[in-house]
Structure formats: structure tokens, C-alpha cells
């Protein structure tokens, strides 16, 4: 198998006396979608916050593109090419799509905002994801549906030249048709060569779009499965702890 885009080896994280991550191994590949599943309290959020630099890990080794890195703050993670799309999307409803996609990284020309250049890049980024669901890139975000907003948030990561995109529950609040839209988008993101990590509780979504499934159980990585070689029941068994991978010591 190819070199993983990101590899975590034996990462740990504790909050006071509570060990949330007890030496986790995890990998994600460019061009592949990896699901991170697990019950509430399994340590998914902590794992992701470490990857995004918000809460650095206590111990363990993180390698990005084969080189060892120390993720200590969000800016640095972002400059490496790691972008997180949080569940609440962090969009400004009073601004339009282009303005949101360039928020905090506005392009300037002669000291003023270069709206034309930003609009052009935003359109290109959305086109690279074959987005057709928005009518105008100058629409205010307040007028967009949940799925369209998710599209904008994902499009923003493309604009930032992300190599690894982490999506936190991207379909949690969406209806059937919009979920479909977003999953297609996720697939295209991976087809464009990016590494994608999805955190999800929805196994139907996971099986539809993911190549690999990693299962966390109480701070341990209990399984790393290829989607085509596993079943829903098996994944549920790992999530609930009724099945434990051989070689993993409790």
C-alpha cells in the first residue's frame, strides 16, 4: 500500500486523570475517504482536535506526507494543508459565498479587496467539485440550504489548497437529497486527490462513501477495516465493544 498522507502512531492525550486517547494508531490516504467511527466518548473529537492543532497530543508520533510533524496550533496545521470543517460550519450568514470562502484570507490589489480575482477562484474551486446546486456565488449564505452551506464550507478547504480535509458529522443535520449531494461532494474531493477523514454516526453514509473505516472504542483504535471487506454488523460490534480486534490489549 502507498505511503499514508497522515499517520498517527501511539498518540496519547489525557485530561487530568482521564486518558482519552490511550495510544492510538491511525492513518489516512490521499485520494481515499477514511471514516472515523465510535460511540460517544470514544475519543473521536479529541483525535480530530489533535490533528487540527487545537489541542495538541500529549505523546506519540504524527507523520504528514512521510515527515514527522508536531501539530501545535491551527494555523500551523492549516499551513501544512490540514483543514477541518466543523459541524457548525463557521460561516457568516450576512456575507456571500465568495466572501465566506475567502474569509480571513482576502486577496488585495492596490490596497483594496480584489473581488474579481476572489470570485474567479471561488468559482473555479466550486467547479472542481462539480457544484451545480448554487445559483450564484454572490448569494448571501443566509439564503442557502444546509447542504449548500456544507458545500461552501467544503469549497473553502479546496481554495485553501488543503491536502487533508476532516469533516465532522457533515450530514448530521441534512435531509435525504442534501445528504446525497454532500456525499457526492466528499467522493469528488477524494477523486481530486485529497485525503478525506469523515467523522460520522451514520453507518449508511459511511458505507456509501468511505474506503476505510477506523473504529475507536474507549480511547483505543479497535479496528481498521476496508469497507468492501466488512459488514455493518461487524462495525457495530466493534463500536459497541462486543468484538475486539485480536492483538489489541485492553
Amino acid at each position: 500500500m502507498a505511503e499514508p498522507l497522515i499517520r498517527l502512531q501511539q498518540v496519547t492525550k489525557s485530561f487530568g486523570p482521564v486518558d482519552v486517547l490511550k495510544g492510538v494508531d491511525f492513518e489516512a490516504y490521499a485520494g481515499k475517504v477514511t471514516a472515523l467511527v465510535g460511540d460517544n466518548g470514544a475519543g473521536k473529537s479529541t483525535l480530530i482536535k489533535g490533528l487540527s492543532g487545537v489541542q495538541p497530543y500529549d505523546g506519540g508520533v504524527v507523520s504528514f506526507e512521510g515527515r514527522e510533524v508536531h501539530l501545535t496550533n491551527p494555523r500551523q496545521a492549516s499551513s501544512l494543508g490540514i483543514e477541518v470543517v466543523y459541524q457548525d460550519l463557521a460561516l457568516c450568514e450576512n456575507l456571500d459565498i465568495v466572501q465566506n470562502m475567502f474569509l480571513g484570507r482576502e486577496e488585495l490589489k492596490q490596497g483594496t479587496l480584489d473581488e474579481a480575482a476572489m470570485e474567479f477562484s471561488a468559482i473555479k474551486a466550486l467547479q472542481s467539485l462539480s457544484v451545480r446546486t448554487v445559483k450564484s456565488v454572490r448569494q448571501k449564505v443566509s439564503s442557502l440550504s444546509g447542504g449548500q452551506r456544507q458545500t461552501v464550507a467544503i469549497g473553502r478547504t479546496v481554495l485553501r489548497n488543503a491536502k487533508l480535509v476532516i469533516l465532522d458529522e457533515p450530514t448530521a443535520a441534512l435531509g435525504v437529497a442534501q445528504t446525497e449531494q454532500v456525499l457526492n461532494l466528499v467522493r469528488r474531493l477524494a477523486d481530486n486527490g485529497l485525503g478525506v477523514i469523515i467523522i460520522s454516526h451514520n453507518l449508511a453514509d459511511v458505507f456509501q462513501v468511505c474506503d476505510y473505516i477506523s473504529v475507536l472504542y474507549l480511547g483505543n483504535m479497535v479496528a481498521r477495516l476496508e469497507t468492501v471487506k466488512t459488514t455493518r454488523d461487524e462495525v457495530v460490534a466493534y463500536i459497541t465493544g462486543t468484538k475486539v480486534l485480536e492483538g489489541v490489549n485492553e
Partner: protein, 411 residues
């Protein structure tokens, strides 16, 4: 880009553009439209009720009466966009003017330096307010209320009980009391048209170079023609003698180009600079702004500095109009300033509104004040009407906010 499936709202003919405008109105993005309609209706109403309303003299008076309020409202928009408020703006202006008077009259300093000192005081107050709000997290309503009370005391201490000091500096008095020569009014209109055309063409050139569609150029000509016609009528009227005595009074009041200049610079900053974009972002969703790497506290503090400094300038206009600096100046005007901004269409919830809205709102408040005064109704009625208009405007704001966020109120 021939296979462009994504639009940007710039496509289509003039007819499509007009259709899109009405579409935006329906989704609750009404902007200044209700205020403009109110302005026209009030003008028609007062013209019918009072023979003195539609006179050349009153037309000029309206601009002068609105100028001070418009400047204060523009100042307040900077903090209102953050969903904050500065209740102390009026008395900050009062203290700023007290500083001016003391430096200029008691210490004999150059008037220009004294004004700069007053403005610097405004900037200092703004940064202090901003510090309390952005760094410590005290609600702006409470901090600025504290400043509001404290500065009233400061005014009394500085100028004495019932202290009134005449302002005799010629260039300050002429701000609100003198007029431009006839040709200068037309020259000013020419400059406005040229700047407006230049900005439009600049934007179009940038879009063309990026390979993007431009709106039909006829739209630009319609906009320029509107400015030319409305501006031309106004200047034509103002350039005629409006005096009721034998002394000739004609020309555009000097304060008009001053306020339009502030409006233009402010709008340029809000629409075309990074700071402006970040101000709207922080007002819309501070958490999203923070995560995007925007220095939220810095933006907030800067907005308060702009607000307080501009407020002191509005105080200068006040002093110019009444010809004196008093120890009680600026106590009530701040609420009218907030009212003007909200009536014009600036949202109290933050993130929505433009400076021009504040100016239109100030005209509405001024026209109510002016018209009711001419009809001869008691002052009490004035407050009742202004209060009613403000309540109506705030209701429109709340409803349109609900509508644009998706949860439409059905009755």
C-alpha cells in the same frame, strides 16, 4: 470560462437585473427602501400640511439640521455592525468640544490643534470602550452607559454649571452657517459623478481582466444619471436666493459636501478594505471570524475608535450650528443617532447595514422634527412620532432578519 455553470448575479440583461432586485426585496433584503419611501411620504405629507415646508429656505435648513445627526449616525453604524452600541457617543462629543474650548479659549492654542486634541480624545475614549468590550467582555451597553454618566460629570467639571462658551473661530462657524459659491456646488456634483464613474469602470475592468461577466453598462449610466438629475435639482434649488430678507443667501451649505465626503470615505473603507470585510464578518458571526484567523478584538476596538472619533466631529458640527459649547451638550442626541441608523435600515443584530442607510435615516428623523415644528404641533408630538417610527423600523428589522434566516413568520 465558457462552461460556466455558476453565476455571480452579474449575468443577464437590464431586465434580468431589475428582476433580481425585486427578488432580493421579497427575500427580506430591503436595505434602505422603507426609509426612502418614508422620506418621500413624509415630504408629501408635510408639503400638504404646511405652506412653509416646501420653500427654498426650509429645503436648505433640512440638510443643515440633518448633517449633525447624519454624522453621528454614520459613527454609530461602525459599532452597530458589530451588534454593539455606544450610548456615550453624544457626551464623548460634548467632552471633546469642552477640551477644544478650554485649549482654544482659555489656553489660547491654535483652533486647528484644539480640534485635533478633541478628536484625539475621541479616539482615546473609543479605544478604552473597545478594550472593555473586546478584551474584558463587559457588554457595550453597560460600559458606554457608565461613560455616558461619567462624561456628563466631566462636562460640568470642565465647563462649570450652566457653562456656555461662544465659538468665535470663523472656519468652524462657517461649516454649518455658510454656503459654497454657485460654481463650487456644480463642481462638487461633477466630482461626485467622476468618482462614481471611475469606481464603476475600475470594478468592471478588474472583472473583465479576470474573465468574469459584467453587468450591462446601461446600469452604470442609469446610476450616474440618477445622481446627476437628483443632485442637479438639489443644487439648482440651493443655488437660488432663499433669503426672506434683503441679504442674499444662496449656495450649497458647506456641511453638505463635508458629510458626503465622510460618507464616501467610510463606505469605501467598509466595502473595499480588509478591515471593512472583517467588521461585517465579526458582526455576522464572531466565532466564524475568529476561526478564520481574523483578530476579532482588534476589529472591535478599531470600530469603537472610529465611532468615538467621528462622534466628536459631529459635536464640532453641533458647536458650529449653535455657535457655542455648553456643559450639557450631547445628552440626548445619541439616541436619535441610533434611531436614525435603525430607521435607515441598519440592523441592531449586527452585520447588516450601510452608512448611506444612516444618512437616509437621519434625513427621516430631521424631516419629522422639521415638519412637525412647521405645522406648529407641540414638541411632545414630535417625540411620539419619532418613537413610533423607530419602533416600526426595529420591527421591520427583526422581521426581515427572521425571513432571511429561513423561519418566515406566518400569520
Amino acid at each position: 470560462m465558457n462552461s460556466q455553470s455558476l453565476g455571480s448575479g452579474h449575468e443577464g440583461s437590464l431586465r434580468d437585473q431589475i428582476g433580481a432586485y425585486f427578488q432580493r426585496l421579497r427575500t427580506g433584503e430591503m436595505g434602505a427602501l422603507p426609509a426612502v419611501v418614508a422620506l418621500v411620504l413624509l415630504a408629501v405629507l408635510f408639503s400638504a400640511l404646511s405652506p412653509y415646508f416646501l420653500t427654498k429656505l426650509n429645503f436648505a435648513n433640512l440638510f443643515v439640521q440633518a448633517a449633525e445627526l447624519a454624522t453621528l449616525a454614520i459613527a454609530l453604524v461602525f459599532v452597530l455592525l458589530l451588534a454593539e452600541i455606544d450610548l456615550s457617543a453624544g457626551v464623548t462629543a460634548g467632552v471633546g468640544m469642552a477640551i477644544f474650548t478650554i485649549l482654544n479659549q482659555k489656553l489660547g492654542l491654535d483652533p486647528f490643534i484644539s480640534i485635533v486634541a478633541g478628536l484625539a480624545f475621541g479616539a482615546l475614549v473609543g479605544s478604552t470602550l473597545g478594550f472593555f468590550v473586546a478584551k474584558i467582555g463587559v457588554p457595550s451597553f453597560v460600559v458606554s452607559l457608565g461613560f455616558f454618566l461619567a462624561f456628563q460629570g466631566l462636562q460640568l467639571i470642565m465647563l462649570g454649571d450652566g457653562g456656555i462658551f461662544r465659538v468665535d473661530v470663523p472656519f468652524i462657524k462657517s461649516l454649518m452657517n455658510d454656503n459654497l459659491p454657485g460654481w463650487a456646488g456644480w463642481a462638487f456634483l461633477g466630482i461626485m459623478l467622476a468618482v462614481s464613474a471611475f469606481l464603476s469602470l475600475w470594478d468592471r475592468a478588474r472583472r473583465r481582466n479576470a474573465g468574469l461577466v459584467n453587468r450591462p453598462i446601461s446600469l452604470m449610466f442609469i446610476k450616474l444619471a440618477t445622481i446627476a438629475v437628483l443632485g442637479g435639482i438639489a443644487i439648482g434649488i440651493l443655488n437660488e436666493n432663499r433669503s426672506v430678507s434683503i441679504i442674499d443667501i444662496s449656495g450649497v451649505p458647506i456641511v453638505v459636501p463635508v458629510v458626503i465626503g465622510i460618507l464616501f470615505v467610510g463606505t469605501f473603507v467598509l466595502d473595499r478594505t480588509k478591515f471593512g470585510r472583517h467588521l461585517y464578518a465579526v458582526g455576522g458571526n464572531p466565532e466564524a471570524a475568529r476561526r478564520s484567523g481574523i483578530k476579532v478584538a482588534k476589529v472591535r476596538i478599531t470600530a469603537f475608535i472610529v465611532c468615538s472619533t467621528l462622534a466628536v466631529f459631529s459635536g464640532l458640527l453641533h458647536a458650529s450650528r449653535i455657535g457655542s459649547v455648553e456643559s450639557t451638550a450631547g445628552r440626548t442626541i445619541v439616541l436619535s443617532g441610533v434611531a436614525a441608523a435603525v430607521v435607515g435600515g441598519v440592523s441592531l443584530f449586527g452585520g447588516r447595514g450601510r452608512l448611506v442607510h444612516a444618512v437616509i435615516g437621519a434625513l427621516v428623523i430631521a424631516i419629522i422634527d422639521n415638519g412637525l415644528g412647521l405645522i406648529g404641533l407641540p414638541a411632545g408630538i414630535n417625540f411620539l412620532v419619532t418613537g413610533g417610527v423607530l419602533t416600526a423600523a426595529a420591527t421591520v428589522d427583526a422581521l426581515s432578519r427572521k425571513r432571511s434566516s429561513g423561519s418566515i413568520v406566518r400569520t
